[in-house]
C-alpha cells in the first residue's frame, strides 16, 4: 500500500515533467534576445533586425564565442570543460535558454513584458 502511493507519486513527477517539457517546447517566442552574465544583461539583440556577427564574451576564467546568423543565435565555440552550450546549437525555444554553467552565461529570449518595454525604448 505504502509503495503503491510512492510509485504513484513518482509517476506523477514523471508525467509533470513530460507535460512541462512539452509546454516549454511549444511556447511562442519573439525576436528579442538577452545575453546575461552573472544575472546582469550584458547585451540585448533583436534577432529580426540583427546583422550577422561573431563576438566573444569573456568572464569566469573562460570565453564563449557567440554567433548571430540569419536571425538565429548560438554559442559557436567555448573553452568550458563540458561544451554543453555549444552542443545546444541555435536558440530555438522561447523558454529554453542556452546556458554555460561554468562561465555563468545565459542567452535567452527576453520575457514578454520586459521585451515590449525594451522595444518601446
Amino acid at each position: 500500500m505504502k509503495y503503491k502511493v510512492m510509485i504513484i507519486i513518482a509517476v506523477v513527477i514523471l508525467l509533470t515533467g513530460i507535460a512541462g517539457s512539452a509546454l516549454v517546447l511549444n511556447m511562442p517566442h519573439q525576436s528579442l534576445v538577452q545575453i546575461k552574465q552573472d544575472g546582469k544583461v550584458v547585451r540585448t539583440v533583436d534577432l529580426a533586425a540583427a546583422q550577422d556577427e561573431v563576438f566573444t564574451m569573456r568572464g569566469h576564467g573562460g570565453s564563449n564565442t557567440i554567433e548571430i546568423s540569419d536571425g538565429k543565435i548560438r554559442v559557436k565555440e567555448a573553452d568550458c570543460p563540458d561544451h554543453t552550450c555549444v552542443k545546444m546549437g541555435w536558440l530555438s525555444s522561447s523558454a529554453l535558454p542556452i546556458v554555460c554553467l561554468p562561465h555563468r552565461l545565459e542567452i535567452a529570449y527576453a520575457e514578454s513584458d520586459g521585451g515590449a518595454d525594451a522595444v518601446a525604448q
Binding site: M6, G20, V24, M88, L96, E106
Partner: protein, 165 residues
C-alpha cells in the same frame, strides 16, 4: 571508525570515481545542462542502504570534490554539491520509509532531489529564473536515470550478498 570500514568506503569511492570518468567518455546525446545518466550514483545508492549516514556523507563529499577535480570542471562543483547534498539528505530520510527491496524507488526520488538541488543552485548562481525552463526536462531525466541506477544498485546488492557482504 574502524580501519576496515574506512578501507571499504575508500574502495567504494574509488569505484564510483572510475565509473564517473568512464561515463564522461560516453557522448551525451542530450545537450541539456544537468541531464546525465549518473552511473556513479549506483555506488551512492548502495552506500546509503549499507553504511551509517555520516559515512555516506563522507563518501559523497569526497567523491563530488574529486570528480570535479578529475573532470576539470571546478565551476560545476557548486551545482553538483548542491544536488548531492539535497539528494543525500532526502535519501537518508527515505531509507527509513522505503526498504531495500524498493531501492529503485528510493533512487528515483533521490535523483529528482539531486536535479532540484542543481536547479536551485543554477538559479542562485546565474541570478535568473529563466533557467527554470529546464526543470521539467530534468524531472523526466531524473526519474528515468534514477530508476536505472537504482535497479543497477539492486542487482549489485544481490550479487554482493551472494559473495557474503
Amino acid at each position: 571508525m574502524k580501519a576496515k570500514r574506512l578501507a571499504e568506503l575508500a574502495v567504494l569511492c574509488a569505484v564510483s570515481l572510475v565509473i564517473f570518468i568512464v561515463e564522461l567518455q560516453i557522448p551525451n546525446p542530450f545537450p541539456i545542462p544537468g541531464v546525465k545518466l549518473g552511473l556513479a550514483n549506483i555506488v551512492t545508492v548502495y552506500a546509503v542502504y549499507h553504511y551509517k549516514p555520516y559515512e555516506v556523507a563522507l563518501l559523497v563529499a569526497v567523491r563530488v570534490m574529486l570528480a570535479s577535480v578529475f573532470s576539470g570542471n571546478m565551476m560545476a562543483l557548486i551545482y553538483s554539491a548542491a544536488g548531492s547534498f539535497l539528494c543525500l539528505l532526502g535519501m537518508l530520510l527515505l531509507r527509513r520509509v522505503i526498504n531495500e527491496k524498493h531501492l529503485w524507488l528510493s533512487s528515483v526520488f533521490g535523483a529528482v532531489l539531486h536535479n532540484t538541488g542543481q536547479m536551485a543552485a543554477a538559479v542562485l548562481v546565474l541570478q535568473t529564473v529563466q533557467v527554470i525552463a529546464y526543470y521539467p526536462f530534468l524531472l523526466v531525466s531524473g526519474c528515468l536515470a534514477g530508476a536505472f541506477t537504482g535497479l543497477a544498485a539492486q542487482f549489485l546488492t544481490a550479487r554482493l550478498k551472494a559473495i557474503g557482504h
